[in-house]
Symmetry: C2
Subunit: 359 residues, 2 copies
Amino acid sequence: MTELKKTVLIMAGGRGTRFWPKSRKSLPKQFLSLTGDGKTMIQLTVERLLPLIDMEDIYISTNLDYKALVQKQLPDIPEENILCEPVGRNTAPCIGLGAIHIAKKYDDALMIVLPSDHQIKMKDLFCHTLEEACEIAVENKNIVQIGITPNYPETGYGYIKYLPKEKKGSAYKVEKFVEKPNVEKAREYLESNQYLWNAGQFIWKVSTVLAEMKEYMPDTYEHLMNIQEAIGTDGYEKVLNDEFRAMKSISIDYGVMEKAKDIYVIPGNFGWDDVGSWLAVGRLQKKNKEGNVIDGDVITINTEDSIIQGNNKLIAVVGLDNIIVVDTDDALLICDEDHAGEIRDVMKALEEKGREELL
Amino acid sequence: MTELKKTVLIMAGGRGTRFWPKSRKSLPKQFLSLTGDGKTMIQLTVERLLPLIDMEDIYISTNLDYKALVQKQLPDIPEENILCEPVGRNTAPCIGLGAIHIAKKYDDALMIVLPSDHQIKMKDLFCHTLEEACEIAVENKNIVQIGITPNYPETGYGYIKYLPKEKKGSAYKVEKFVEKPNVEKAREYLESNQYLWNAGQFIWKVSTVLAEMKEYMPDTYEHLMNIQEAIGTDGYEKVLNDEFRAMKSISIDYGVMEKAKDIYVIPGNFGWDDVGSWLAVGRLQKKNKEGNVIDGDVITINTEDSIIQGNNKLIAVVGLDNIIVVDTDDALLICDEDHAGEIRDVMKALEEKGREELL
């Protein structure tokens, strides 16, 4: 087996606001500490890769607004590995940008692509799974994904259908990708045992992904080549800005995965959680004997199964179950857990009122 | 009918903390604005008496800790009318202290005794009721109380049983006073139509109440006479301090009312509310179309029938009904309305933790 350098691209450009009021446009989820260990999501993402990948081979794609945050939270990542998109263009251009930077540094290399804001409990299993994926990606020039074994009929993720009989190592050949289903479809997928959640984790050789982009996204590929040529030159920033803006906004799933052949998927069982809302904090952090997850100066009376994140004053909660309380310097959220999805309505209201400073 | 000067003693020494975190030991309920008009309870109490009583005849009994608050909130009350108890000794010594001060100023006078922290919606009716009470108090040297017509079986108040056939003007002779009942008794009282709530509103001549105290509380009376002698002298503070501390702690109900003869009660129907907890704010203040009483910078989503008192940050409440939210600089309360009584458990917890600064 060819020994190829392992590199990773961590995608950290997201502006998600489901952790309002802690997450803001200026401080999205990947830069927050949500799992109770004091480290931010992106710090944990890097940390769990270190047994597998050298710090100098870890690339972070983000946008200019967050560059300082990345540097502050990840001071050991080389500055040239922080790839700033001039504008958001979804995952395909983002991954392409990572690929050309890695290709400039190494003739070829293994490239792992990961989100920056997911939680993985069993780090060893995760690393082993990535190693297996790398082997398959190298041997047959395959695209490999890690799919998450579903345990309930989630309607918020895409699904990957695999062929149980076409196995290569611990990976299965992908039959097809399917979009976020309705709840009936999701139940069907769950019961069929032939679907995995698409968690946005990709493994391929840089040469493989660039070849696929050349075939299925020739325009994007051309822009990427123009950028690659400018890497290391004085004109890089301008070229990046012009070429990146000229690219179409398109996801890697739509641009490559749904078209490419011979994709393999490894079922991942390493305690994955997408930490999609405040409810995840209740799932992931240590609960006290009343079932509460508490941070800060808090007194609870007859209050159970709640998430209470204090700031700099005492919070007393009396006679309320299943609530989310998040206090910050300028905004306080009090939310029933069953209504967590409506936090977005708060943000909508703030937007309508022109309260940009709170978003 | 003899024309006697009308005076009032407003009792404002209470340290009630049911409005925590707004009420504190250093800022009890009577000094808070709770009814939505920007005025504090004690300011409203004084204001509604002005058609009936001259400012110079309004006395406030409180304790030294609150003297500055009284002066700040009621700058027109003469300083010598602010009677500071050196120590709390319940209502009988408090009323006695007021009586001797009024007796020192006027040979005799009508004395109305009122709590400082109740709400009365119909001020005209209230004043008319007091006038009627004054007439009865003068004509026959009677003790007169205003009793509140009950509209539900409250277990938190004492009750006054009256004799429906022994009428004098609009007042009825009192048969007896009864302590706070259990809910069964309270239902019985409500259905019998012969009981009124004891709201701590008394009307008598100063000479009457002092004569009653002399008869039923001779020790207290003697201490009071010693204090009275020192009024206006340099030694007043010391005498007050010594004699007041020497008095037994006893309520006027127990010390006088339950023993005195020929007490009359007028049923009061002037929109009385004792503003006993945060729930009263929901009863008394203007609700918006979702049934919420809101003060401050607040966004509600799917939230009804709640009381939300903001401070200096945005509060977003999502998917919660019937809750109380009170934000202050150093403490935040979030409480289910059905559990409002457990706010005292928060205070107990704070006390146990030695968090005096928050009490």
